[in-house]
């Protein structure tokens, strides 16, 4: 299954992508902001997105995905340094399926991805 990693930091994209590959997820594509992400959705089965990005932020990306019937149920995990309760609630209200606060361990990241996939599987497709 293809996973789309969205972050304006090339380093963070690499950290997330390398962590996913180490956990056995081989098909990874990347985007530098929300707008690029919307153009990179072909065959994507899950999105991991940062919140704070230029051009289009992660929250706007999630709202855009949820507003489109084709991606309304696409599994999305927010991976961000924004960890205040209000922000977590805002992201969940926008439609993210789970929330990972930076810093994270590689193990936590992989486990959260597996849990969301186990919960949602390919039911959204």
């Amino acid at each position: 299954m293809r996973i789309l990693v969205v972050d304006d930091s090339t380093t963070m994209r690499r950290i997330v992508s390398n962590s996913l590959r180490a956990a056995g997820f081989a098909d990874i594509v990347e985007a530098g902001d929300g707008r690029q992400a919307l153009e990179t959705l072909a065959d994507v089965g899950m999105v991991l997105t940062d919140w704070n990005m230029p051009v289009m932020d992660g929250l706007s990306l999630v709202r855009s995905l949820r507003a489109n019937p084709a991606t309304a149920r696409l599994p999305v995990i927010m991976v961000t340094s924004e960890g205040a309760r209000e922000e977590v609630m805002e992201a969940l209200s926008a439609g993210v399926n789970d929330y990972i606060v930076k810093p994270f361990t590689k193990e936590i990241l992989a486990e959260k991805v597996r849990l969301v996939l186990d919960r949602l599987g390919s039911a959204w497709m």
Partner: protein, 155 residues
């Protein structure tokens, strides 16, 4: 500046290093910054502002520490302060500011944080909010030393 407000930044840095690098830095005694010059070869600074607070946090690292952090976080080795290394230092500052923001929000202190600015070169200066005292918190990892600078004004 209330020194108690420094702790969330310190804890956020230690937490980030332990989780993402498997490193636990040793913290030295904080002191007020006197000279204008920064101690590192590369620095990342993030400003923050909210209804009741204004300030900034910066990390300033010697080249060896920045390269080590890059290697541990990304899993790749480089030998100079490349754009990727600058990105790592900026991202670490972002995580520290985000962690402190989360902790301070529990005390009712809320703010938004800026995108990090990274400066490279020996003898560079960091532009904190003018006129405010800057606390310097030294850290050691192995034989290397680096600093975090924090300044904050409560309205």
């Amino acid at each position: 500046m209330d020194v108690n407000f420094i702790n969330p930044f310190v804890l956020a840095l230690v937490n980030a290093m332990e989780k993402m690098m498997n490193l636990t830095p040793e913290r030295g005694s904080p002191y007020l910054k006197r000279e204008g010059m920064t101690q590192g070869d590369i620095s990342a600074i993030i400003g923050f502002a909210g209804p009741s607070v204004t300030g900034s946090v910066a990390l300033s690292l010697p080249t060896a520490v920045a390269l080590k952090f890059h290697s541990l976080m990304v899993g790749e080795t480089v030998f100079r302060l490349t754009a990727d290394v600058q990105d790592v230092v900026g991202e670490l500052a972002n995580i520290v500011a985000g962690g402190a923001k989360t902790a301070l929000s529990r005390e009712g202190i809320t703010f938004n944080i800026s995108i990090p600015t990274v400066v490279v070169g020996a003898g560079h200066s960091i532009g904190h909010c003018s006129g405010l005292p800057v606390m310097v918190i030294p850290f050691e990892v192995g034989k290397h030393r680096f600093v975090m600078e924090v300044t904050m004004r409560m309205e």
